[in-house]
């Protein structure tokens, strides 16, 4: 370790605080019986838009843009699939919390008839 002055540490601290983009990662599991179909995917996209975040969602080897319905639907995430969410933006933490809650509440929607 190089010796670092207090000024240097304070400067780094300020730089971190001023970083425009937060990044948050969280792992969630799809508990929907029918998998991540269109209605829940739409809820995710709308939350990402609401918080103005970039959102990537990874399933296994594949990562897609979670702010795009077309991308999200190509994951075909079935019941039991584990997804890693990664949000970037000033409100990334709020976004990831809200989106994780969707999964925890099992999207609170009636299954489409």
């Amino acid at each position: 370790m190089f010796p670092r002055s207090d000024n240097f540490i304070a400067a780094m601290h300020r730089a971190v605080l001023m970083m425009p983009n937060q990044m948050c990662i969280r792992e969630v599991t799809v508990n929907l019986e029918n998998g991540l179909h269109l209605a829940p995917s739409s809820q995710i996209v709308q939350l990402a838009q609401k918080f103005g975040c970039a959102l990537s969602i990874r399933k296994g080897e594949r990562t897609v843009d979670g702010t795009s319905m077309l991308e999200l639907l190509t994951l075909a995430a079935e019941h039991g699939a584990v997804l890693q969410l990664e949000a970037r933006g000033d409100r990334a933490e709020e976004a990831i919390e809200a989106i994780s809650q969707l999964f925890e509440r099992n999207f609170e929607v009636e299954e489409p008839a």
């Binding site: 029918n34 998998g35 269109l38 709308q46 319905m69 077309l70 190509t74 075909a76 489409p112």
Partner: protein
Amino acid sequence: MRLSDFVVPEAILPDLKVDTKEAAIRKMVESLAGCGSIQTEDQESIIAAILKREELGSTGIGNGVAVPHTKHPSVDRLVATIALAKDGVDFASLDGEDVFILFLLVSPPDRPGDHLRALENISRHLRNHNFCSFLKQATSSKAVVELLDEADNNQLG
């Protein structure tokens, strides 16, 4: 799963002219009934179920595409049709834009995996700019069917 596994060629509407979302859905379901993919006596019930699903949130997923759908016990396999609306239809889409390409799906209630894979399949092809662009330009059912075949065979680049 391939597009040709569930899209019924005879039910494709290459030139849909309607003013409303409800009219678009009605025409597409009638087309499926017209070629015997669903029973005529189930038609109204299927239309009602699709409209009810739309009330939960539009299936206009952006990029000029909508995927109205429902599960219905009257079908024993996933059936779908495509409509192209050159003038666009207001589908109350997520991005606020009109819809030009519609995929309508009716699936058996006990096969959620098929529905998910069909959505995956449709979305994967619609991400391909060539597929979207050629689909919007298609003027006959035959041209649409050929395009679906090319997409299934990954010939669109």
